[in-house]
């Protein structure tokens, strides 16, 4: 028995030393993982490079669109190679529950400690805000008066004929369904899951595509494959910047965040915590929206004057815009009721 175990560890060590070969260096460093693309490029300029410089550390980067299964397998292997992960907040919370991410000591993260309590948890710090908004094609709805403005409009296929697309995921989609059914944005939680699915059943025959990636939602709207879509605000504004005739409204948008969390047993834990504090520094945070259409998570960023007045108006987490949106409760989504709702999704899709 002992022998076979030994053999196993030897194999594991051989595997890891192979993996570690490329990145041996004496200076303090961390492995930071985000979601890639334009978003990761923007934060590299706004946050990662300045933080690395200020702290005198090296920030190695990796990008993974679906980090969750890898987070789990890394921790399960007993020797994770990632330190800090930037993922949708619910994964940080679930990771906390399942012992996959480290509990944070906020006395060592003063910048985060100063943020509003709902922006952090025992295991995570909010990193940036984005919004699931109602976007539409301007060729189909040229004047503002007759354009869809709310989820009720999105659901109203008679008054607003056209092809529609929703995300193939319950998060934010159930919220939109409830708002379409008349639930107020600040009275959503706990979600009435049955009511939400019933409302979704109503619009289902009119959904042309259930999109699975941000790129797909943008391509669908750009190609005219659909006329209106629930998509992330940055996706639609990027299209508009490319000259596509599309726009969106923040009204009844669902304000969501990604958070930073640290993997359990991270190889460079102390450096990772130092980085966490630096990453939510108001000035770095204020720099993020200069490079991409996502909002800072630290509200103090709006006091730094780094972001121009005009720019503030375009950001999802700007106070004016936040007022007309619903703030997603990740705590509810990681509760048993939330997880049950998530599992029910597949069944709903197949019917």
């Amino acid at each position: 028995m002992a022998k076979s175990l030994n053999f196993r560890t030897t194999c594991a060590v051989a595997g890891f030393s192979l993996a570690a070969l490329g990145s041996a260096s004496a200076a303090e460093q961390i492995m930071f993982v985000s979601q890639g693309g334009a978003y990761q490029k923007a934060q590299t300029i706004a946050i990662l490079d300045p933080s690395a410089k200020k702290l005198g550390i090296t920030i190695n980067q990796d990008s993974v669109p679906d980090a969750w299964p890898i987070m789990r397998s890394q921790v399960a292997s007993g020797k994770p190679t990632w330190d800090v992960v930037d993922v949708a907040t619910n994964f940080c919370l679930r990771g906390g529950e399942q012992g996959i991410v480290e509990k944070l000591d906020f006395s060592k993260i003063p910048n985060a400690a100063a943020m509003p309590a709902e922006y952090r948890s025992d295991y995570s710090v909010a990193y940036e805000f984005y919004s699931s908004v109602l976007g539409y094609n301007l060729k189909k709805f040229p004047d503002a008066a007759s354009a869809p403005k709310s989820w009720a409009d999105f659901w109203d296929v008679k008054k607003f004929p056209g092809r529609r697309s929703l995300r193939n995921h319950p998060l934010a989609t159930l919220e939109a369904a409830l708002m379409a059914d008349g639930v107020a944005a600040d009275k959503l939680y706990p979600l009435d899951v049955d009511r939400a699915f019933k409302k979704l059943e109503e619009v289902k025959p009119n959904i042309t595509v259930w999109w699975t990636s941000g790129a797909q939602s943008a391509q669908l709207l750009n190609d005219g494959e659909v006329d209106m879509v629930m998509a992330w605000n940055g996706r639609i504004s990027a299209l508009a910047k490319e000259g596509a005739k599309v726009t969106y409204t923040y009204n009844q948008g669902i304000l969501q965040s990604t958070s930073l969390c640290v993997l359990k047993g991270a190889p460079n834990l102390p450096t990772a915590i130092k980085f966490l504090n630096e990453a939510v520094d108001p000035v770095h945070q204020a720099n993020l929206p200069l490079h991409i259409d996502y909002g800072p998570a630290n509200p103090k960023a709006y006091d730094t004057k780094v972001i121009s007045e005009a720019r503030v108006k375009e950001l999802p987490s700007a106070p004016e815009n936040a007022k007309v949106q619903a703030l997603m409760s990740y705590a509810w989504w990681t509760s048993p009721a939330g997880e049950a709702a998530e599992k029910r999704w597949l069944q709903f899709m197949q019917k």
Binding site: W68, P69, R163, V209, W211, E225, E342, M349, Q350
Partner: protein, 289 residues
């Protein structure tokens, strides 16, 4: 010269056999370590969850999510298989009967897409078949339709792209069977007074059947395991078994459920191969791939 009591030729034979087994051993070990053990592990997991349980299997047969997906997958596999046969048979026939350079050209047309990434081909179909895509524009210009057809983001799109990917797996076994059918037989059929259709039906078709069976089996079984194409072209609604397996693992960490679904799928595949293997030797079928 041997003084041994064992017949030397027998001993030689044994040594030969041992040597051959030894030569095959490294390859067999690789397959054992990377197919047999992982799949066996999954099988064990599907019936062991803190003790022996058939719960995961019970769920496959009672919960809608699972059996709907199985039903959809088999329906798509059936459609794809029949369509590849309908499209593949004439192509293989033409390739087997055309003269140079036409036969080479036909085979090249069959093989070239084979070496284009499945991923990229899925996007090519999106561009071709979507509402504002080339296909709809052409159909509209010729006045064949007034409203764009929904050819993608649904089952139809999945089938069109899957047939495209699997067509070579039908054409190649058909072609290699047809090539071996002596032309004189057809001539003999004609000399007996039958028309070309008669000799085709009575002579050529029956002789090409082994290729048909091999192609049908390969295409059917490969469709059962399809993953990327329905994911990208199904519009989110076309959930095939492979997608259920990967979702159970990635999203919900339900290894038991994923393993059970995988095991059922594997049993289906093995049963099909075993049944067909009684008609055509398996290595012949796969060798033509």
């Amino acid at each position: 010269m041997s003084t041994s009591t064992i017949d030397p030729s027998l001993r030689h034979q044994r040594r030969e056999q041992a040597l051959m087994t030894l030569l095959a051993a490294p390859a067999v070990l690789v397959i054992a370590a990377l197919v047999v053990i992982p799949v066996g592990w999954l099988a064990a997991q599907s019936i062991y969850d803190n003790g022996f349980t058939l719960e995961h299997y019970r769920r496959i047969f009672t919960e809608e999510v699972y059996w709907r997906s199985f039903a959809l997958t088999f329906r798509i596999a059936l459609m794809v298989t029949l369509l590849t046969l309908l499209l593949g048979y004439p192509v293989a026939y033409a390739a087997a009967h055309a003269k140079r350079p036409w036969n080479v050209l036909i085979l090249a047309c069959v093989m070239l897409p084979f070496w284009t990434s499945v991923l990229v081909r899925a996007y090519a179909w999106l561009v071709l078949l979507q509402r504002t895509g080339v296909a709809n524009q052409l159909l509209e210009r010729f006045g064949l339709i007034t409203e764009p057809l929904a050819m993608v983001h649904n089952e139809l799109g999945t089938v069109i792209a899957t047939v495209h990917i699997l067509l070579p797996f039908m054409v190649l076994p058909l072609y290699s069977t047809m090539q071996k059918i002596p032309r004189e037989l057809m001539l003999a059929g004609a000399s007996l007074g039958g028309g070309p259709l008669y000799s085709f039906r009575r002579i050529f078709l029956p002789l090409s059947l082994p290729g048909v069976v091999a192609g049908l089996t390969l295409v059917f079984v490969l469709t059962l395991g399809f993953y990327i194409t329905p994911e990208l072209l199904g519009g989110g609604r076309t959930i095939m078994i492979s997608m259920v397996v990967s979702r159970n693992v990635e999203l919900y960490n339900q290894w038991g459920a994923a393993s059970a679904v995988g095991v059922v799928l594997l049993i289906c595949v093995l049963a099909i191969f075993a049944a067909v293997g009684r008609i055509i030797p398996l290595d012949k079928m796969l060798g033509q791939k």
